[in-house]
């Protein structure tokens, strides 16, 4: 693994860093500290800027119309895009676009025309709905939503919860049990249109994260055409697995970015703030917190880039992606916690982004597969044991 950045990677990192500091942060200063979206005019202007930079939808392959940026460079970008208040859950407020629903890369040509390409052009929004009230960590076992064949359609019934973005989406990717006798081999992936009869959004699920809220959705005798099956019938779980594992890498990378910014803030504050006639930075207790921060960040950064490097090399990456997710979410949680401690009372005030990151990072250890599940995946890789 080459630990140095190429000239192109350095240029992209510098470009994104400048964009965040010169375009995003000045607007963000006037928004609510929990905001998750830009005023429409600002958003349109910044999306155009990103397109002009050639970085729109950076993780989309060239054959699908994206710039085809490799996984390592995208991880490096994600570490920069997240360095602002909203950066953990909405890096740069989404103006870089992106695949989001990368499962659609596996779609048929017809499905790509109807869902993927309009999404990449910013014309449609989609959601991803896997988790159900019965469980999220073991979706193959917990899925109770059913789909029954009826002529050229499937009839869906069931409830999904903790689903982000469903209220504004035109379509969603969801999973339903199509063969109750086959466990994980009896789950099928569907693309559902949100304007179809039988699709309901029942409530907002309020959490620590006030922005980018989650919702409970319900399928009530919802008719889905057979042409909207994504992949093969009873093979839906395989679609979820590979892409979900891959997405854990940028998920980890944005945690590294937030931790980096929290550490920069802590260092600046420790140098400027004095107690008993000396700057905080001169106190060993503070120095050790800052050193521990740096070791956490560097560990998380290298583990995350290593997982991305394996993707680019075509090597098995699932365990490495899980490791990145665990290390980065837990390291960033510790870094933000220490940085709050260094800031004292201001650390918990809404005038600084630390309190937002502190809340949101707690969710990060559960979302995208809880860290305990990630450890099980790594254990399976090391020991060759089954999860079951």
């Amino acid at each position: 693994m080459d630990l140095g950045l190429t000239d192109e990677q350095r240029m992209i990192v510098d470009t994104v860093r400048g964009f965040v500091r010169e375009q995003i942060i000045p607007i963000e200063r006037d928004l609510d500290p929990d905001a998750d979206e830009l005023p429409p005019a600002d958003r349109a202007r910044l999306v155009q800027m990103v397109k002009d930079m050639g970085l729109y939808c950076p993780d989309v392959p060239e054959e699908l119309g994206g710039p085809g940026i490799d996984a390592v460079t995208f991880a490096l970008m994600s570490m920069e895009m997240s360095q602002h208040a909203a950066g953990l859950y909405v890096p740069c407020y989404g103006v870089f676009g992106g695949s989001g629903l990368a499962q659609l890369f596996e779609a048929t040509d017809d499905q790509k025309e109807r869902y993927l390409f309009p999404t990449l052009r910013g014309e449609k929004k989609g959601f991803f709905a896997l988790t159900e009230p019965a469980g999220g960590s073991d979706p193959a076992g917990a899925i109770e939503t059913t789909a029954e064949r009826d002529g050229d359609d499937w009839i869906l019934n069931g409830t999904k919860h903790f689903i982000s973005g469903a209220d504004r989406a035109q379509f969603g990717i969801t999973f339903a049990r199509t063969d109750k006798s086959k466990g994980r081999d009896g789950v099928t992936c569907f693309i559902v249109d949100t304007d179809a009869p039988g699709f309901h959004i029942r409530r907002v699920i309020h959490t620590l994260r006030s922005a980018k809220y989650a919702m409970e959705i319900q399928f009530e005798n919802m008719r889905v055409p057979a042409k909207n099956v994504l992949g093969e019938v009873n093979k839906g779980f395989a679609i979820a697995r590979d892409r979900t594992a891959r997405q854990r890498i940028p998920y980890a990378a944005v945690c590294v970015g937030v931790a980096r910014l929290a550490q920069d803030m802590a260092i600046e504050y420790a140098k400027a703030r004095s107690t008993f006639g000396k700057p905080l930075a001169s106190r060993q207790a503070i120095q050790w917190m800052i050193v521990d921060n740096e070791m956490d960040i560097e560990h998380a950064r290298l583990v995350t880039l290593n997982a991305a490097w394996k993707v680019d090399k075509g090597e098995p990456f699932v365990a490495a992606a899980s490791m990145a997710k665990v290390v980065a979410t837990e390291a960033a949680s510790r870094v933000v916690d220490r940085s709050m401690q260094i800031h004292g009372g201001m650390g918990v005030a809404k005038e600084l982004p630390l309190e937002r990151w502190y809340r949101e990072l707690r969710i990060r250890r559960i979302g995208e597969g809880p860290n305990e599940i990630q450890r099980m995946i790594i254990a399976r890789d090391l020991l060759g044991t089954s999860l079951r």
Partner: protein, 111 residues
Amino acid sequence: MAEIRFRGEWQPLEADTIAKVGGHMGVYQLSSPKDAVVFIGYAGGRSVFGLRGELSNKLADNGRRDMWFRYEVTTTYLSRYKELLMVHVADHGSLPAENDANEQLGRLSPT
């Protein structure tokens, strides 16, 4: 499961009643006449004096109308605010008259 529709007693939008409201973050509704919601708002992380400050601003802008308010204290003011707007649209077909018609909003179909 939490109640998604606003509950609580309407109080007259007057200086005396507003003075008893805390400076917390949260959401509020205004009605005129009573029970006819005309505005849903929130006191967020940048609100000076929180709910009390936001309601005081509304009183100052209100002119001479009779108006009522009710509020909820919550730190998840943004998601609750959006939820209340979506519930209002689901129940009444449109946003409250004095909310920004260009509000970026999803849709909800509460039972």
